[in-house]
């Protein structure tokens, strides 16, 4: 009884972790549809710099975003470890290009600390929190905040 109460007040969520440079990020597993190897990505002329291009996913056109550029990191050419994570964020299906996908971890809500609120609002928006996992810090990304309204409007054009 008390265990059930504890679970309700401190829910456990699963997070898919991926690497970008030296850091590990986590996204909610419920929003991940699939993970793909990097295949041919068709460039889109006039697209924002963070858009790598588009892919054909079983007949559906999916926009692929360069997560490094979106996070203000140095861009890197995809290699064998690179993956496209297909996610659903607020009814929009997009692919995010990451350096590699690591594992799925379970985290209690109480283990997550909110991200430091320094810097511009843009970055504070999509970093949901941080937590300690296997001796290092895991940065948790809120995919619903990953794209702002302006971004979504631009992506709708593809």
């Amino acid at each position: 009884m008390s265990e059930a109460l504890a679970k309700r007040s401190d829910p456990v969520n699963q997070w898919v972790t991926f690497r970008l440079g030296e850091e590990t990020y986590g996204i909610n597993v419920m929003q991940v549809q699939e993970v793909l190897r990097v295949t041919e990505i068709a460039p889109v002329p006039g697209a924002p710099d963070y858009v790598v291009g588009i892919i054909n996913l079983r007949g559906n056109v999916v926009t692929v975003i360069d997560t490094r550029r979106r996070f203000g990191l140095f861009p890197k050419e995809p290699d064998d470890a690179s993956r496209i994570v297909i996610i659903e964020a607020e009814d929009q299906v997009i692919g995010i290009l990451v350096d590699s996908v690591a594992e799925v971890v379970e985290l209690r809500a109480s283990e997550i600390e909110s991200a430091p609120s320094v810097g511009n609002e843009e970055s504070a928006r999509y970093i949901q929190g941080v937590t300690s996992h296997n001796g290092e810090l895991l940065i948790l990304v809120d995919l619903n905040q990953f794209l702002n309204d302006e971004d979504k409007a631009e992506l709708d054009l593809f």
Partner: protein, 213 residues
Amino acid sequence: MKTASLGQITNGWQEQVLVLYLRNLLNQAYGQPEVLFTERTDSNSITAPQLGQSAPPAVPDWVQSEFQVVYFRIGHLVLAAPLSEVRRIERLDDSMRVTVLPGKPDWFQGLTKCQGEIIQLADTGLLIGGKRPMSAGDSCRHVLLLNKGRWGLVCGEIVDMVRLRRSDVRWRVNRSQRAWAAGTIIDRLCVLVDPHCLIPVGRSKDMRVLRKC
């Protein structure tokens, strides 16, 4: 004799009136210099608060009659911080991994775990340098862990720790600019930093545990 005597009296009276008139003129023009002089030279009176009535000195609340400071280096510059606001000093070596968060300002170096606690690291050199940032240097880096807000100020070498009296510091009266500089330690000509004013205001909320994901 009588006339001469009256003349002397008259001359004396005229001189007194003339002196009084000139003194009044001087007082109108320059105020009451005698009174000001008395105030300034009275060493037993508490002159600083009197002088400060028009512009009170912004002495931080951590200042006691005596307090300890830690001297640290940022590049070639030596600064001081009050020990009452520093709960621990850690050496920042390779064992302390720094996790960099995307989209944060340059002065925000990232997060690190320190004795089971997540600490936010701020580059002191960049924060105080403004347009001319000073490097803390790569060797012998330390972190001053502040007693509020899980902030750590990254600096260079720790020089020493000293007990000061309140009067050892020339406190800044107007801290509207560079609010982090509380004053100057007179004998070392070294800036005493008010650490909590160093983190940009309004963007330094404490980290807290989220209730739900």
